[in-house]
């Protein structure tokens, strides 16, 4: 069952949009593309100051006790403005893993910092195209971990990571303190994601979940993050659709606005359809947190949001013609972000398989 946003939730959407539109712009984001290891500090300061880092965490652990619906609304606005750092989602994923599967001591150690934003978390499960590998690239022996995890978003800044590792004959979900871990920056097409290869050599790790339950737990964390990311993608797609619409209304060719040509107006109308389907799936998935069909709902949101953002990026630039491919206009910020968000938390190839397994009555 889906929901209608209540007044409080609508206020979160309005206020976060107002703040982000005032503080985040392409002038600050464009230079970040040409440096490695930098993120947009004002964005993250805003997230901390506004309490967005604490929003979806329990009050007992320093959070505000709200949930995916509210965090999703923030992520949607962050997507519209192009968020300046990946931590809203990465720290949320790490915090949920600790909240759901950690000991009281682990919660006490990490959650208050993650909630206030002074601590940054990362999720590092993937091995190449496999977002939830059966043979992870890291191995846990006792309370020590070895191996290298490649392409971890937020990896250059994170204080703590949740990893999926090979344990003694079975998978393990583990918490790794990243102090002293080797981090190699990955120069990327979207550098403010702070992507790093993390090298572990006899690094201290704490076990959270052991056995098949570790994979189930990891999938649940990915699904929670994916719903947040899907909102962010939908926000980005929505912004691009509006940019395309506005440009089609003002740019003239052959004596009329280009938006009067059906080839252009239908293209934008199709974007509207993709955005609304993604939005509807996002709202539904956020409202299904804790329900038996949550994974299914999260996968649907993820797939439709990825399609919406990718398509909107392609078509918005196309509708702009030559100006659309310039550095200065910044549409490539969205194009780059559409792709980095499409890969983080598992690509469409991964979520299609997860979804079909759910629909066909098989487990991941």
């Amino acid at each position: 069952m889906t929901i209608l946003y209540d007044e409080g939730q609508q206020a979160i959407a309005t206020e976060s949009r107002r703040v982000l539109e005032a503080r985040v712009g392409k002038e600050a984001l464009l230079p970040l593309l040409e440096t490695v290891g930098e993120y947009h500090q004002p964005f993250w300061d805003t997230a901390k100051e506004q309490g967005w880092t604490a929003l979806a965490l329990p009050e007992a652990d320093g959070g505000l006790g709200l949930g995916l619906i509210e965090l999703g609304l923030i992520a949607h606005q962050a997507g519209r403005s192009i968020s300046g750092a990946p931590f809203l989602t990465s720290s949320f994923g790490a915090a949920k893993a600790i909240e759901l599967f950690g000991s009281d001591a682990q919660k006490g150690r990490w959650l208050p910092g993650l909630a206030s934003g002074t601590t940054i978390g990362a999720i590092a499960f993937a091995a190449g195209p496999d977002a939830l590998p059966r043979q992870p690239d890291v191995t846990l022996t006792g309370d020590r971990i070895d191996g290298t995890l490649r392409g971890v978003s937020a990896g250059l800044a994170a204080d703590v990571a949740i990893v999926l590792a090979n344990g003694p004959g079975m998978p393990v979900l583990a918490l790794v303190h990243l102090d002293g871990v080797q981090r190699v920056a990955v120069p990327s097409f979207d550098n403010s994601r702070l992507i790093a290869d993390l090298g572990f050599s006899d690094a201290p790790a704490e076990t959270l979940v052991v056995g098949d339950a570790a994979r189930t737990a990891a999938l649940h964390i990915l699904a929670l993050q994916s719903v947040v990311t899907a909102h962010e993608q939908t926000g980005g797609a929505e912004a691009l659709m509006e940019i395309a619409r506005d440009y089609a209304l003002t740019r003239r060719a052959f004596g009329q606005p280009i938006g009067a040509f059906q080839s252009v107006k239908h293209r934008i109308a199709e974007l509207y359809g993709l955005v609304e389907l993604a939005r509807a799936n996002c709202i539904h998935a956020a409202a299904r947190e804790g329900a038996t069909d949550f994974i299914t709902a999260a996968a649907a949101a993820r797939l439709s949001a990825t399609e919406a953002y990718d398509t909107a990026a392609r078509d918005c630039i196309q509708i702009h013609g030559g100006i659309g491919v310039t550095w200065e206009i910044g549409l490539h910020l969205h194009m780059r972000r559409a792709r980095s968000l499409a890969i983080e938390q598992g690509s469409s190839l991964f979520w299609e398989d997860v979804l079909v397994d759910q629909l066909a009555g098989e487990t991941a």
Binding site: T2, Q256, A260, Q262, G273, N281, A300
Partner: protein, 401 residues
């Protein structure tokens, strides 16, 4: 258990108890006349059990419940293959519009009660041979005739007109003003002298749509449901109702579960087809699209329930769902390969892939073509410019041919 869950459980139990008498198996091999007769009895059974007019006012014989109960019941009802489609248009648009715009309340009440009990069927006379997308360009005319009107012209694509007792119709009453302004909305007796109904056989072999001819059909002025010249607004109100009645995320084709089952049952390259990446991708994509539409539709009903106007995203359903159904049906036939040639022209498009496939083009054209819907979204929702329209603002009778 929420109230709605309890309602669903009760409805499901009642529907299951009706299935042996009226459901899929009971209908097998029936002629259309016998199937319609069975449908009328089923509609009466629904009325008696309190499942007809679920969200209609009690003063008209409805149940006075909400949109959520209605959609809950419909979802359960769909599972059994009941003969309810004869009444889908009738109870979907014309009768609700009659309740809203009919002037003689006693007459309206009598018609609504008979329609709810399956005794009378209504049709909707909008499209014409000269144009379906361009509704306001219609040519059927009504001229003043004594105290009433005289109708001449032709309608087309009228679903179930051959079984209908009454219809709602938009006609031109003034050709001297721009096209939208010269239309008036009436109801007509489909058995009146001068009304001729001719079925049209469609590509799939089915003939539920008709041509309807009006030759000097005389009606009194109390048939009028809009101000003279104000018919276009009522026609749009009718189509707005249609937008929210016609919400099936399966695009009026088979449920995705049937495709999943097919993919499990059929072997492809020596493995169940459900393990093939190409098949998996289509299942996943179709599910994501359908779940989005379902969420849009549920939210629209929640908004109506809360007294709010639903958002314009409701107009996406037919556009997105039917063309997806068309492609998925092609894939379902591909999947069956040489085993997929079998064709039963009486099979239901909701349950049979060949029937769904061959009837899909109708769905992409009827009730607003894909192109018309895209134009509507672009212009009405996104505020993009109107197309070049040479007929704009000039009197109907001066529009260049």
């Amino acid at each position: 258990m929420s109230d709605l869950d309890a309602y669903r459980a009760k409805a499901a139990a009642w529907l299951a108890s009706m299935a042996p008498t009226y459901g899929r198996d009971a209908r097998k091999g029936l002629s259309e006349a016998d199937d319609l007769a069975l449908g009328r009895r089923y509609q009466k059974a629904k009325f008696d059990a309190g499942y007809a007019g679920i969200n209609w006012p009690t003063e008209y014989g409805g149940q006075g419940l909400g949109h959520l109960e209605k959609v809950t019941f419909d979802a359960e009802e769909m599972k059994h293959g009941f003969p309810s489609f004869y009444f889908g248009i009738s109870l979907g648009m014309p009768v609700p519009v009659l309740m809203q715009f009919g002037s003689d309340k006693d007459f309206v009440k009598e018609r609504v009660l008979k329609a709810l009990q399956g005794e009378e069927i209504w049709c909707q006379l909008f499209s014409e041979p000269s144009g379906g997308s361009d509704l306001a360009g219609l040519r059927t005319k009504a001229e003043p005739d004594g105290n009433g009107w005289k109708i001449n012209g032709q309608k087309v694509w009228t679903s179930w007109a051959h079984y209908s007792d009454y219809g709602v119709i938009v006609v031109r009453t003034d050709p001297n003003v721009p096209k939208h302004k010269g239309l008036t909305y009436f109801w007509v007796d489909m058995k009146a002298p001068g009304v001729t109904v001719r079925p049209i056989k469609l590509a799939g072999g089915d003939s539920h749509v008709n041509e309807v001819f009006f030759d000097d059909v005389k009606i009194t002025d109390d048939h009028r449901m809009s101000p003279v010249g104000g018919g276009f607004a009522v026609a749009i109100a009718t189509l707005m109702i249609e937008r929210y009645v016609a919400t099936d995320s399966a695009g009026f084709g088979p449920h995705l579960d049937l495709f999943v089952q097919l993919a499990k049952d059929i072997a492809l390259n020596g493995r169940p087809a459900i393990e093939d990446g190409r098949i998996r991708q289509q299942i996943a994509r179709n599910h994501a699209m359908r779940s989005g539409l379902d969420s849009i539709n549920v939210r629209a009903r929640l908004m109506m329930q809360a007294g709010m106007m639903p958002g314009p995203e409701g107009s996406l359903n037919k556009l997105v769902a039917v063309r997806s159904r068309q492609k998925l049906s092609e894939l379902a036939l591909d999947l069956q390969g040489s085993g997929g040639f079998l064709f039963d022209e009486h099979a239901s498009p909701k349950e049979d892939w060949a029937s769904s496939w061959i009837n899909a083009p109708t769905g992409r054209i009827a009730g607003g073509s894909d192109e018309t819907l895209l134009n509507t979204i672009a212009e009405k929702v996104l505020g993009l410019p109107q197309d070049h329209r040479p007929d704009k603002g000039i009197p109907f009778n001066q529009i260049p041919a």
